[in-house]
């Protein structure tokens, strides 16, 4: 299913941004008035100051995946409101409003595609859906995607943007941290690559689970990434936070992320990393269209000896694919 090509889900330029016209957008950092079409071409990175504006989940899929081709999985999953949660309004009403606003059933899109020819499983979170919060649906979709990555030995990529666990699902939300981490434990042991991409903002339960469990952590410049939100920390320590605290550059300095990667170089960087981890040759410069064809992308884990490699090959040979 080439899900993007559905006209209904085609991203409308300017559908979410608040500037009065569709044509221009003001950079929140340098205040430069930018021509939107040009900005879109630049993946919403300000050409003047380099500020990475927040973009939609689809945007990531479009520029990370080859031809933007994406086979979406589990789009029909919805929260079951297990607590019957009611604050100022019922949780189902918040869910409906979020679905109307974003056009999707919960705060993550998951599915399969190819990145520079390499078959991958990819998840992209949507901060617009109840603050990108993780409840049972986000947890289940990530867990299922991880299991598919494990089964097919294909790399997993998760692009995070989240305020943390979803309060309205109480303890079940908290358990999604453990649930997703348990699947990543298996992926880790199986030697299947997992790349965690942290975008603005990623805090709370998502950082404290799959956000920080990548083989490699890439962060977008300037992204707010942390465990506690800055306001909570300020209230706790009763002092102002230092400039740049919990920004991507701060995390790099403190050893929590491997690289800060400009959005315009994200695809090339992910491809380069995957090629290293999968034992594939380096990309041929400008050699577009080279595809990798192995059914199982990841090499066997190091603790499995030659015999099991043999067995794996044998099994594949006998299979009818």
């Amino acid at each position: 299913m080439t899900w993007f090509r559905k006209p209904k889900r085609k991203l409308q330029a300017g559908e979410r941004r608040e500037l009065p016209t569709d044509v221009f957008e003001k950079c929140p950092q340098c205040a430069e008035i930018l021509y939107r079409a040009r900005l879109a071409q630049n993946l919403y990175v300000c050409p003047v100051c380099g500020r990475h504006l927040r973009i939609q989940a689809e945007d990531y899929l479009r520029f990370l995946l080859d031809d933007g081709d994406f086979d979406e999985h589990d789009a029909e999953l919805r929260s079951a409101d297990p607590l019957g949660f009611f604050d100022l309004k019922p949780y189902p009403q918040r869910l409906e409003a979020a679905e109307r606003k974003t056009g999707r059933g919960d705060a993550v899109i998951t599915g399969a595609g190819r990145l520079d020819g390499i078959p991958v499983y990819i998840a992209v979170m949507d901060f617009e859906f109840i603050g990108g919060s993780m409840g049972s649906v986000v947890g289940e979709k990530i867990a299922r995607l991880g299991r598919r990555a494990l089964e097919h030995r294909r790399p997993l990529i998760v692009v995070s943007a989240s305020g943390g666990a979803r309060m309205m699902e109480g303890i079940l939300s908290l358990m999604q941290l453990a649930k997703t981490s348990a699947v990543l434990a298996q992926l880790h042991e199986a030697g299947v690559p997992y790349i965690s991409i942290l975008t603005d903002p990623t805090t709370g339960g998502v950082t404290a689970s799959y956000g920080m469990l990548g083989d490699v952590h890439l962060a977008e410049p300037g992204a707010l990434i942390g465990f506690a939100g800055p306001r909570v920390i300020e209230q706790t320590i009763k002092q102002e936070l230092p400039e740049g605290f919990q920004r991507a550059e701060f995390l790099l300095e403190h050893g929590m992320v491997d690289r800060i990667t400009d959005r315009r170089e994200l695809k090339a960087t992910v491809a380069q990393l995957l090629r290293h981890m999968l034992g594939l040759p380096a990309a041929v410069p400008a050699g577009d269209g080279e595809t990798v064809e192995p059914e199982e992308s990841a090499p066997p884990p190091p603790d499995e000896g030659a015999a099991s490699q043999q067995r794996r090959k044998g099994e594949r040979g006998e299979a009818a694919d």
């Binding site: 029909e76 999953l77 919805r78 929260s79 079951a80 409101d81 297990p82 607590l83 949660f85 009611f86 604050d87 100022l88 059933g105 409840g135 049972s136 649906v137 947890g139 289940e140 867990a143 666990a165 979803r166 309060m167 309205m168 699902e169 109480g170 303890i171 079940l172 908290l174 358990m175 941290l177 453990a178 649930k179 981490s181 348990a182 990543l184 434990a185 298996q186 042991e189 709370g204 339960g205 950082t207 404290a208 689970s209 956000g211 920080m212 469990l213 942390g226 465990f227 506690a228 909570v232 920390i233 706790t236 320590i237 936070l241 605290f245 919990q246 701060f250 403190h254 050893g255 929590m256």
Partner: protein, 324 residues
């Protein structure tokens, strides 16, 4: 936090005072008050039973945070033997908000690890009110891996308001430390039993809580966010704390109902702090029973079941159909 009794404890204390006064009076003046006394004592029993049976969520929160409630080191002293504490994460420092070490239950060695609150202000400064920094979680993981190395089981005791939200904690990777524990606890080739003994404060609690069995004391709570935090965010006023406590479904009974907790351990009437030895005996009995059951599983089977347990957690539905 003050050491004054909780509101629902005051009514009970008042009745207990009346009984005491009557007894003193009877003794001093040689009166026969047996009939009155038995009425009052029956009334006290009823009041206690009714009070503790029908506690609201926010009253359970108060009990879970009760300043006299037994903490990890109390349970280690009362329920375990031969404890030898081990310190430090081998990287940065020893975080005293988490304690751990070798101990025995019924003669058998295991690793016991738990959050540790302070009993007074001085101790709380040292223990940071039971709110760990990343090095606390890293110490815990080091000890768990030590247990695995020697094929001994792990018991964790959970009692924390949450992981500490501070500058140093963020600098040293609070999120990474918690995440790593979640992943590594899922992988450990040795039985893990976790018991929530007081406050189960979100990710900071869960970082010791990935286990084959999850137990909870009757008056303990376990929640994704504190009722105060939830009220401030969703109701936009701290006054909604009681409603938030109800809505979050954070009591032991709630969690058993949601299929998260494997066993609720009954507390003595009046709560664990009323009779700590009795509470410790009940905890010990439950831990032993679960450890015995788990001891029959080989590591591969144990891990498969642990993974299946966590993968089954969650409640979702398929659009246009019913929920699971």
């Amino acid at each position: 936090m003050s050491a004054t009794p909780l509101r629902f404890e005051q009514d009970i204390a008042e009745l207990e005072r009346q009984i005491e006064r009557l007894q003193v009076l009877a003794q001093q003046q040689g009166l026969d008050v047996a009939a009155e006394l038995s009425v009052l004592e029956r009334k006290l029993d009823d009041l206690k039973r009714e009070t503790y049976r029908r506690l609201s969520a926010v009253e359970r929160v108060a009990l879970a945070r009760h300043p006299k409630r037994p903490y990890t080191l109390d349970y280690i002293a009362l329920a375990f033997s031969d404890f030898v504490e081990l310190h430090g994460d081998r990287a940065y420092r020893d975080d005293e908000a988490i304690v751990g070490g070798w101990a025995r239950l019924d003669g058998r060695t295991l690793m016991v690890i738990g959050h540790q609150k302070g009993r007074d202000m001085k101790e709380n400064l040292r223990r940071n009110f039971g709110m760990p920094h990343p090095e606390g979680y890293r110490k815990a993981l080091r000890l768990m891996q030590l247990a695995e190395k020697f094929r001994h089981p792990i018991v964790t005791l959970i009692d924390t308001p949450g992981a500490y939200p501070g500058i140093g904690a963020e600098e040293r990777g609070q999120a990474e430390a918690i995440a790593r524990n979640l992943r590594e606890m899922a992988r450990l080739r040795t039985p893990i039993v976790a018991a929530v003994i007081g406050e189960g404060g979100s990710g900071g609690a869960l970082a010791l809580g990935v286990a084959d069995r999850i137990l909870m004391l009757e008056n303990a709570i376990y929640s994704v966010i504190s009722p105060e935090g939830c009220a401030a965010i969703l109701w936009k006023t701290p006054a909604a704390r009681d409603q938030a406590a109800e809505a979050l479904k954070l009591t032991a009974t709630d969690l058993a109902g949601l299929g998260i907790v494997d066993e609720v351990i009954a507390e003595p009437t009046g709560g664990a702090h009323a009779e700590p030895e009795d509470a410790a005996r009940r905890l010990r009995e439950a831990l032993l029973r679960h450890l015995d059951e788990l001891s029959t599983l080989d590591p591969a089977e144990l891990r498969q079941r642990r993974w299946a347990k966590y993968e089954g957690m969650g409640a979702y539905r398929v659009a246009g159909r019913g929920s699971r």
